[in-house]
Symmetry: D2
């Protein structure tokens, strides 16, 4: 189980490595009858595409997606949707040097320990390009959710010390700024901070958040398949994420019960909460409030300063990584977070349809 | 999929609710030939038992475990191990009142939204007693890991503002203090803090950590089944956990690459890291360093102050919760964290045995 | 993965061995709100109980089921339903001899090969008593199916050379004859045949069939999760079953296309087939006709004639099995077949609810 | 869960339909370090390729496989192996007519019932071309098994009334005859029979068998994951298979215990059976003898005689199917059976590595 499959009913299987012929995903269990075109998917892929600004690697990839199966006359058929993106600009020669040593902060050493050798070209399967399949699948999940009135929105909350002002949340800015921040002013400051960081041959970490709105109460399962546990796994499975918070997250550990409990009240005939410290999930099940997840992303490990490491002969050496690398992972990771959240939520909704006996019976009884 | 099964090869299924007849777990896929007795399991269960100090509810449960299957002549047979703990001190009468309203911070409302009604006695399946099955299974996983030289140690890192001093790590204190802190002095301060919190009819959150030592490099899978993603899910599936960190966790978002990267060096013939910001995992695969996970636990939602909420008739009311409840969840949750980590690590080790073709072939070739 | 879990959404986990303390099952994912009592389950268990006639072992077991969790105020809560049957009449002494050798036709040798040793008391986990959990779970699945208008009926088709006349199908006879045949006359002949077989210190094989009526068209999935593939696995997982047929089964291999194809016609507004060679499944998906499955069951391996075998010291010996054993497995296996079919069909129905996008969307769109 | 994923550790996901752009498979969990080239896979695909003789449709497809990921410098890397075959000769125009009605014996009607509409071009996902992915994955599984000394051999046992003489088993003939029979004389007779059948505008069913040799005792699990249950599901998931037998199969139902039990004896230090009525599996676990599975395959449903059916407007009509279709499914299905068996056996071997605690411990203990 190399672990490239995710989901129970809506189930995706990704494949491909940085410098192989192609990368892709098979989406199995997508409901039949959804209108779907390559354009629906491309708009998501374009959000993670490199070379969009000075902040991302100028490696030019078109990342054009091809639908190979599962769509007929513009609609999904219920059978596996196979999506592929050809690798076009890989130049393996660039990577021949890193074959001989283990880059700090990368998975070179652990891949070798596990498999006995590794595809050293650009990180192989541990490359950020692995997320192409996730995003292509996420575009489909998000489209289905939208038809149910559920939206998933991820954005950059902070880069290093520069934080977006959420009180002036600007949805449009997420797509238009190079940082994917919902705050143009903070974005400009963050750009300046990153320019300085790059000039120091260094990189920066940051925080991204994801907001799920419109989800009804009652989704998710108690015990091991809690909605927050599954969202947490989904987000922690994105490379470079080192912490995940739900709602108030780390703040709860210094809070008192009287501060942290959200009291209920009526909003017409609907039960709502006065506050949302819980982040929309109680006991692993959605409570009808917006769900908020936060992820802490480590700085890009590829930096241009000399670093100490070990080569494959077991010798200690100093290395200086070449090429061009993003000074921060976040702007392109935001759409990956959004995709993983959308896939997780959709799967939970599909599983949940038979939670009540009366629903199951009335669905089938003619 | 109510989601009460966890694991792929070493697979546990828990069952039971707070005030039902019994609670338990079925462990399927436990390797054959491990010596196992009820005493091995009881010692773990006793660590989560209520009534051990002033800090925990005086509800007296023996929580005596019975092995119902899967062990023959003192050894596991390879077939399902069924473990049961009878509920002895439940008095459902105590809970009749909460049937009519939704307690803030609890899963009462979300269970109703999902299932149409709920077992309102003591939280039913969303009660902390659900973890009895996890801990019983964890005791077995931990025993097997110990035979491979792998130890899993969880402890309370902080309660409210009081933090244990890790530089004076005292392993014995984890088991002997009422807070499960590895620091007797901090534990005394935390006890005082909790007494004061209780006198204010309030409760406190806190932080627990888990250290996994002795795990070889190469365990875990890239992509969706990353070891940190699976540990994260395991820990987030424990009720009241609202954030999970691996290694430096939330600190990485304000760090620079030059600070966060761990450089490699040789330790004799072994490759090690000079630092462990990564918390023992790179690219989802263990790197041979100790693994460190941190969980932020919310304050006990059952507090004795009046709280606003809504009843099942949709009326806004003020309620005051009765009975006795722990002022902090941590001391008894620590062994649950340890158990979930042990189960996750053992499963990953079992899955990993065939990662290299040469190992698979030599195992079977006669 | 010892493999004691079955199903995706409606998921059962069985445990227990012939001479352990108890046997049972955990049913996870049962929809909430189904009325359920121990009596609903006991009626199924009584059909597989030993000692009901001369044809079955006089070992007296009450096999009284206890509901340990998952039912509150007479209804399922959506959380795991744990069911247990205590072993009451096991006398391990009877089995001490078989500890030293491998019984022909039994799993003694293969358990030893796999696990290094075995629970030799009465076959341990490979005993027919393992099916108690399956039948207890099947009773619940069948109850839910009945509410949707779907019935599952298994019966003995033949014992040795004696075959029931299906043209005079007598549903009542299935429950009232000691053979579980739907034909009292054939049942009497079969009883006489079995008496003769027993007098020769021998045992007999037979055929059982299962009919699933009322299932709508469109259930099951193409490719690996074909409804017939899943039913086939479910039935082949019952000990002693050595062949499974769907519809015309083995006859199709000598048929011509013109004979085997079922033509379609209209029945009012409903599409039906003129014949049912296919047994109700086309391309892995139900077609609205009754589903017919047939299983060939080997003769009871425990016979009282001397047999050659090998002992655990690797010596060739002749053995004579003692005790009392059923001369034919079928009468008590029929309810196991019915249970496995019911569980498989119910799970397929639950999975199928989101096959069409429009159904998913209208379910959640408020 | 459209059900296009198969296997637990060695896990394949197939995709593609008859007349889409391409078909393929993702193999996840293949051990690292296996030498693998496109030629290894092509030789298997060529065995299921159409147009190889008068007995198979002259539709010319090259079915050339492309490795898109997971292989680096000629060896598997442990990450997903993505394989693709482009569809080259599809002419959708041929199929426009069948869009309007339901072909008898095909899945047209059931796909519509499930999904609301269907890809009507050549059967879409229910086409025999779906098996391309299975065979491509099977080639890899078989290669790994061969390195362990385990071989999997499938062949045609009979076509209509013509049966191969197994006593003169000719392995070479399986690959060289157009029928895939291990008996050249029977193959000639079968060819004549098929010519006659075709001249009658009809088709024929048949039987295929699969022999698994070299598998050690102890593989497979008791209860639901019995090796025969999994093999049975794997084979029943191949379109057109309507019955599966293990060992003596349907014969056991008329046998007596004294005839059907296989007695054990010593072969040097090895325990073997004197006969193999059980077909190599006892209690769901391999016993070290060859495993024998038999599948009954229905006649090709596409025949050229007029047939009654119903169109999508609910009108009864008579239709005559056009194009060219194989008169028998078997010769090209044999390699699909071999592939599914190989994948199932390999997965069982990988799962089994941790069945004994001592093996797990010694694997990791340094």
């Amino acid at each position: 189980m190399a672990g490239s499959t995710y989901g129970t009913i809506f189930r995706i299987t990704t494949w491909g490595e940085s410098h192989g012929r192609a990368l892709g995903v098979v989406i199995d269990g997508c409901p039949a009858g959804l209108t779907l075109s390559e354009a629906d998917i491309q708009v998501y892929l374009d959000r993670r595409k490199p070379g969009q600004s000075l902040l991302s690697t100028p490696r030019k990839e078109d990342d054009a997606v091809e639908i190979l199966s599962g769509v007929f006359e513009g609609r999904t058929t219920g059978t596996p949707i196979s999506l592929m993106v050809r690798n076009t600009s890989q130049r393996s020669a660039d990577y021949s040097e890193i074959a001989s040593y283990y880059r700090p902060g990368h998975a070179d050493y652990t891949f070798n320990a596990k498999y006995g050798f590794r595809d050293y070209r650009g990180g192989g399967r541990s490359s950020g390009r692995e997320t192409i399949g996730r995003v292509a699948a996420g575009a489909i999940a998000a489209k289905l959710l939208k038809e149910m009135g559920i939206t998933v929105t991820a954005y950059t909350r902070s880069i290093g010390p520069i934080e977006a002002d959420i009180s002036k949340f600007d949805r449009e800015a997420i797509l238009s700024t190079p940082t994917a921040m919902p705050d143009k002013q903070a974005s400009s400051l963050a750009e300046a901070y990153l320019q300085e960081t790059m000039s120091q041959l260094d990189s920066s970490g940051g925080v991204m958040e994801c907001l799920i709105e419109g989800l009804p109460a009652g989704i998710g399962d108690p015990v091991f398949e809690k909605l927050d546990a599954n969202l947490g796994k989904a987000i922690l499975s994105i490379g470079a994420v080192k912490a995940v918070e739900i709602g108030d997250g780390v703040k709860v550990s210094t809070a008192k019960g009287s501060e942290n409990n959200d009291s209920f009240r009526m909003d017409g005939k609907r039960i709502i909460k006065n506050t949302n410290h819980a982040g929309g999930i109680l006991g692993g099940i959605s409570d009808g409030s917006p769900i908020l997840i936060r992820a802490h992303v480590k700085p890009t490990p590829s930096i241009f300063r000399p670093q100490n490491t070990v080569n494959t002969n077991g010798e200690e050496i100093s290395v200086q990584i070449k090429g061009r690398h993003d000074p921060v992972i976040l702007p392109r990771a935001v759409v990956v977070m959004e995709s993983m959240a959308a896939i997780t939520i959709l799967d939970a909704l599909m599983i949940n349809m038979s939670a009540k006996a009366e629903n199951l019976i009335s669905f089938y009884k003619s």
